[in-house]
Amino acid sequence: MSKPTLWSRRRFLKASTVSVPVAVTLAGTAGFSAPLAGSAAADLQQRIAGTVVVKDDDHYETWRQAMIWQRAKADRRPGMIVQVERIEDAQEAVRFAAATGMQVTTRCGGHSMAACFLRNGGMLIDVSRLDGIVVDKAAKQAVVGPGVFCRGLAERLARDDLAFPGAHCGTVPISGFLLGGGVGLNTNAWSRGMSVFAVEALDIVTADGRLVRASERENADLFWAARGGGPGLFGVVVRFHLQCFDAPKVIWGATYTFAFPELDEVMRVMDKVVPQLDKDVEVLLSIAALPNVAEDAPIEQRQRIYLDANAFAVSEAEGRRKLALLQRDPLIGRALDRVENRAGSFDRYYSENEAAFPQGYWMGDSIWTDRPMEAIAILKRHIPDCPAPRGTPLLLYMGTNTLPDAACSRIGRFYLAYYLEWDEPNQERPSRTYCRTLFKELKAVAKGSYINEMDQEGRPEDIHDCYSPEAWARLAKLRKKWDPAGVFHGFYGQS
């Protein structure tokens, strides 16, 4: 799904009458240069349309930091960064890495909170420029490049009255999100709990540089691994073939704000009432500090609970009906604030959700759990000690789906995540320590974690808990089959 517009246009212009001034201008501009003759960069650069950056380059550090979406920049330095412009570039880069003994990781949007793609040494392949969306409306399918943002996919599909269970954060590209399983929008109704189960096939560059299709019918074991293998996948996914769904006519929603002492009652509703709603009603609980209350104020004054319900409905009337059971609960009458009868769309959803995903300094962790009351009890004890200025726990009802056989093998009735955001460098270490301590305790009530939002840096020893023991073992076995020479890095801290 290549779109090497910049270089290809430049190359085109160079072949035309206006080429000389353009080329001269570029050559004379800081940052433009011929690769160092005889260097590894020059060797690979000669073969690709993308950009090869090595440590010796003037702007290496800017490139390195640009690979991480958020502002906390992990202090790890790959030897070479390759921003590919076309699929063939990815093939060439992998072959080059294999031939020169560099281990490979892949990034796209760089949203991994642990920046697990950033390792010391080796090659980082950036696939963010592989974009493009092709929609087959009649077949309800889309072929999508890894660099496409979830918001962009939603907006593009909406033009054809289709939808896909993309991430809740609009600026997350589909690639890493899907490869890790994908806690996405309306997955309980659309995709058996996790977004990746709406992936029909993937095109993958394997360790030997081949481009292969992985699906139920072709390279089925690779397909098994790609559906959930996440950052431990031994290949570069360059194209996704997605099953799409009829778009909701409206995302009918309501949001209620409760005082912190209502937490047990809100949890009762999450545990007992929400599971009775239709599967296409998504209910999310979050706890967040009021922005204008002092950080050392009592928790009851500072924290609020937000209960957000969205029905993916064919009409407003259906939306009202789908939320009615929730809205009849006595708890709702005690809300401090409320927004009801919200006739939403993906555009509105993503716009209103933007503030929830600040491009600041942050980290997080997550668990799956079937024991939400106990999990919240643990959380409640820890929240007052949170050293980060902004700490936001989130609880999402996932349904009771049985996952298809795939690497994505862990899920619970509830997904519990905790995002910590800080402003000053000296707040980072205590925030990370606090998070690790809390989630070590939460393990007692957990069914593992979600690889995409697991604190891989803080708890690398628990990464295997993102998978069932059988899936973890099979991933290792398939790695040996598909990447016998170890061209690709394994999970963070593993290889």
Partner: protein, 376 residues
Amino acid sequence: MKMPSLKAGFLTILLLFSGIAAAAVGQALTAPGKTDDPARVVHQLYEAFGSGDMAALERLIAPDATWTYHGPASKLPFGGTRYGPAGVADFFAKVDETLEHPVATQFDYIVTGDRVAVPGTEESTVRATGIRYKADCVHVFKIRNGKIVSFEEFIDSGKVLLAFQGDKSVDVGRTGQASPQTLAAPPVPQPIVDRSAGKAIFTTCLGCHGNNGWGLNYVYAPNLTGQERDYLIRQLNNFRDGKRGKVDDSHGFPMVGRATAIPGADGVKAVAAYIAGLPKPAAAPVASRPVPPTISGIVPICATCHGTAGEGKTDMQVPALNRLDRHYIAQQLVNFRTGKRGYHAEDGPGALMAASAKDLPGPDVINALANYYGRD
């Protein structure tokens, strides 16, 4: 006439590379432009190739079209110039007779007036020799009244000819399933590489504004190219400093995070310089557009700052309107009118525009202005 084979051949393209064609035409795919928009017509042709839609091919190719493949017609059966839909059909019949497993990649659409240039690659196996070549090419289309009146393919026909002559030096094997040793891509002649800080930082921009900075209107992200560097710097700083991107500016607010994450003032300058240096699509032909009566009294006022063709004014750091999508212009005028932009006391130019926008009579005038100055 071997249309069924032709269809099968291009269905192969669809199956193998269906994403690439659309990736190359993100703007054309997403722009709501008129059906006779040149880029859209060309895109429709590629789509017709992809789906084997012969009726569409007939519809898109003018009766008097010329179809030229630059290469020795005496050596390459599909070389030379052909005329009209029948000639085009003959071209593809010759292609199908001699080549198999075709794969085409379109990298970009470059539109200049009624011409569309599409750089890309072509890869096919010569049936007679089994040699598989992969050649860089540029397709140049000329569009008139929604139909293709001229097509020229400039391709490395020397490589194609060698493949016909059985020269294994050009054999790239079979992409997709070939063994690694046969897959080595031909070296790309690329002596100059942009590894600038600006390009690095632009990585965080491209998901919304596109790899080429031309914008993606389905995510409400404008074309950035064609604007002056200093204007881009000012706007990025406005987002960073709270002078633009209120929470209720639903499509502007996301820029606050992105702009804030840019590493410092030098980073802002670097990415602005990178964007300002990008190739840009053709400007809206404002000068040739009639001025609707509803805005005939307003256009001269706009022109004092934005120029008579909406080209902007460097010395005033006023943006070029003729580089922006008309929907984006309309939305920004609404934002200026409703206090979502130009609201900050230290954003002098924005405040000036907000004051001007408040005097606009209403939606009809806003739409007329946007349609007059904006790109389709």
